[in-house]
């Protein structure tokens, strides 16, 4: 479903701030894979997801989604294949627009937007039902501005929006990191539910090793712009946090591994 081949990305090339954020990353996800991504701060996790989403062009390498080469497609065209939830709850929704308007925008992802009404009457019931499935009481606040919602409510809404038009690929980038533990658990549970219900191919970045082990059928760890650990299947199911830490220090050849991972 997703095929990343040898992608490289350098930020601020030729300046003192030069940073090789991706150094030859390759990854293939099969349809229905739920891959969790871990790694220390600055390892390149967000950069990899942004590369796939097309926030900017990569320097080298190719990316294809569902057999379509998207390497040279701009972000808004790739959106036809991709649903995203960001770390920052502010990033995924339009704050000055209503909840129902945000949903209507998401329902048209990948379609040409013309002079038909931006929100058909018939859509309302469907959204109301989907919102009540979140269990946050948003179904009674269809016309509230999203800017009035809490971070957790926004992330839940963004999740719903990302999956409304079933994407070929769902990208979750530490989407619970900015939430309090209770809300984070709830949003994570919701993510699991949505992924399972829609059989979505998913990449989820998390800084929580336990979550990374518990969720999904595959786990990759990034270090310094590369994928250094890749476990799946039975092996992943049996994985424990101490094992993962040990694996990591072996691969990175560093004793600070524990601090770096646990503190981030």
């Amino acid at each position: 479903m997703l095929e990343i081949k040898e992608i490289w990305k350098t930020f601020n090339a030729g300046t003192v701030n030069e940073k090789q954020a991706l150094r030859g990353v390759s990854l293939t996800l099969n349809e229905g894979d739920f891959c969790t991504v871990i790694g220390g701060n600055g390892a390149g996790k967000s950069t990899m997801l942004n590369a796939v989403a097309g926030t900017w062009a990569v320097d080298q390498g190719t990316i294809s989604i569902g057999g379509t080469d998207v390497t040279h497609l701009p972000e808004h065209k790739r959106a036809a294949f991709i649903g995203r939830v960001f770390q920052d709850p502010m990033m995924g929704t339009a704050p000055t627009m209503q909840i129902i308007e945000n949903l209507a925008l998401a329902a048209r992802r990948g379609q040409r937007r013309g002079l038909r009404w931006g929100l058909a009457k018939a859509e309302k019931d469907r959204y109301q039902e989907l919102l009540s499935g979140l269990g946050l009481g948003l179904e009674d606040r269809l016309t509230s501005k999203v800017g009035l919602l809490s971070g957790g409510q926004r992330q839940a809404l963004t999740l719903l929006m990302a999956s409304l038009k079933k994407p070929k690929l769902l990208l979750l980038d530490e989407h619970t990191a900015a939430l309090d533990p209770k809300t984070a658990a709830k949003v994570l549970e919701l993510s699991d539910k949505i992924v399972a219900e829609n059989h979505l191919t998913t990449m989820m970045v998390t800084h929580n090793m336990k979550d990374a082990i518990q969720h999904g059928n595959r786990l990759i760890m990034m270090y310094d712009g590369r994928i250094v650990i890749d476990v799946s299947g039975e092996e992943k199911k049996k994985l424990t946090v101490p094992q993962l830490l040990e694996l990591f220090s072996k691969v990175s050849g560093s004793d600070e591994a524990d601090d770096k991972l646990l503190l981030s």
Binding site: N50, E75, H76, A79, F86, L105, R113, L115, G118
Partner: protein, 316 residues
Amino acid sequence: MTVFLNALPGAVSQGLVWGIMAIGVYLTYKILDIADLTVDGSFCTGGAVFVMLFAGGANVWTAMLAALLAGMLAGLVSGLLNAACGIPAILCGILTQLGLYSVNMAIMDFKASVAINVTQADTLEKLLVSLRFVQGSVKGDFPLWRHPILVVGLFTACLIGVLYAFFGTELGSALRATGSNGNMARAQGINTDFCKVLGLMLSNGLVALSGALLCQYNGANEINVGRGAIVIGLAAVIIGDVLFSKLFRNFALKLLAVVIGAIIYYIVLQAVLAMGLNPNYLKLLSALVVAVFLSLPYWKGRYFAKPVKRGGAANA
């Protein structure tokens, strides 16, 4: 006081005409979240195109349509400088505005002012609005329905209706999303560059249309007519917002608030003039008023309310 009262219908008429320009400013400043300075040039472009075509014998509606299109073209230039060349939006506006001075001069045959011969009755008759209709329609020289307040008022109402419908469409919603949160818009498959360009075209089209109306109202177009238009537009937007934001939630009413803002601006202007202020100080006064109102939300947020979190780390 009588001076002021006598000037009132004229002030309201002018306010309505400028209100259309202010709606254009609202589209960029409030909806797209861009401070577009193109308007200072495109306002005059509208008047220039209108006056040359109308003087050349064109129908008043044809000339106004041409003015609208010319304004859209100016918006297209600013938009492309931003979207295709990566120049910051505020600089794009400044560049286009500067370039438009020469273009406007060229359109007006390198004359600083071109007049419509309003002393000729049949020419005057063809105009949609004119200063002369303000008193003339009351005195009985012209039918009452030709009063600029009625004509421009109706025109504005139609315009607001069309815009209200447009911003309810998929494309209009995409424009609103672009201004509200570009990241979200792109993630939902919206071409934000295209939306910005389209928004700038719409906005400057309206601004030029307003310029064409003012040119009719004054019976002439002058090369400096649009100087400071952006400030007047912002003033109207802000006055409308301050006075009506609690009252008007509906988008059409918000546009109406902008128009009322423009009218209030012109009434205040007349009042200040009636008090004997040297007209040369008007621009300073406008700038001060807008500066004060633009800083209000900042000071209010700082000293009277909890700080509101906005934005946050991008690509974190």
